[in-house]
Amino acid sequence: MALRASPHLYTQTDTEHFDAVVAGGGIVGTACASELVRAGLRVALIEPSVIGGGATAAGMGHLAVMDDSEAQFALTRYSQLLWKELAFRLSPDAEYFPCGALWVAADDREMAEVERKQGFYQAREVPAKTLDRRALEAAEPNLREGLSGGLLLPDDAVVYPPCAARFLAEEAIASGMQLIEGRSVTELSDTAVQLDDGTSIASALTIVATGIMAARLTPGLRIQPRKGHLAITDRYPAFLGHQLIELGYLKSAHSLDSDSVAFNAQPRRTGQILIGSSRQYGTHSPDVEPHMLEAMLRRAVEYMPALADFRVIRCWTGFRAATPDKLPLIGPCPGFRNVFLATGHEGLGISTSLATARLLADLILGRASVIPLDPYLPEREFALHA
């Protein structure tokens, strides 16, 4: 699974000067490198471990459109359409699966929220269909009885994130990108980055796409690790047709301080079922915590009782890079002239990676952007506590 790095290993004898260095080979970093390489820049990508091995490998890979704010909507929708384009050339192991998503309403109050969301999406020309109780039962017969309905978002899809990141990296390598694997960036300036082996790499600009580690390189960033658990089952083909999310998920995603779980189930192309989700602040331990795993699986069984008899074959955790205002940080890093941030994507890093990279490349290359970058500029975050 690990990217074979030897042909691309950077050695100290290289004296190249790069147009851009990207720190962090997750989905965001590889997408940024891919955009810049495609524009003809000489790019080096620096990944301390393996491509797509951090939060990218831990995430669900739900390519979602979201409506918490206009800015979040714009970024998720734009990125979802970029994923649709990329899907045509993505490698099969990236398992792009246009299964659609179903937000599940448990009661009348949540059904009112379904109606509101449907109106929001309809007004913005995003396909969205309200399902009543019967239509929900027909769409997902393994959901428990007595649910009120749901919202079907047919353009949502899923992907296997680490293989998507590897695909983007390999494609960029084939176009001349230099991959520096096994090294991390310890310091940066407007003209060079320092690696942990003491090497200095000259570069006209640097993109920091190191997720929760970004604050180490650019002090002042308020990025908090927000831990999540996931579990995956053995293969039960046709049990589940759509990415399912309970409407209550938003309560979990929005709560700022308490630990929470929400039902989230995803069909994989293999027939496996990926089960989430949990959110915790204040912990840096990657250990699976039995009480969180239990609460998460109990929640899943409440929505899909038959899951109780299914075999979970693996569970793991990861850390989302959470910002105080729930929007990512994309753009120039205050305090530098040539350092750019691409981090803080919380639970939407896979979804919004491609739009993040496109917007950043537009800014760097002086191209016009399809959506405004302003809501994601990092200066908002620095201004708050300057």
Partner: protein, 81 residues
């Protein structure tokens, strides 16, 4: 003569002494191809004690049931894959 229990394996009736595990019932009946791996290879029980997962069958509609850990029950439906 021990008590006998009757199960159905791929639609065929099989009768074994009560207390027999499903895995053993199949082996008594000459079935060795329990399941088919993802790569398309035939699989049979290896460990007999619930750790190797090679003996998985669909038992009473539940896929991935470890047949070496489940005793035959009257009218149990077993399907190999």
């Amino acid at each position: 003569m021990p008590d006998m229990v009757n199960i159905v394996v791929n639609g065929q009736p099989v009768s074994v002494p009560s207390g027999t595990t499903v895995a053993v019932a199949l082996l008594i009946g000459g079935v060795t191809h329990f399941r088919t791996s993802v790569a398309g290879e035939p699989r049979s029980p290896v460990c007999g004690m619930g750790t190797c997962f090679e003996c998985r069958l669909t038992i009473d509609g539940l896929p991935h049931s470890r047949s070496c850990q489940i005793q035959c029950a009257e009218a149990m439906e077993v399907v190999t894959s």
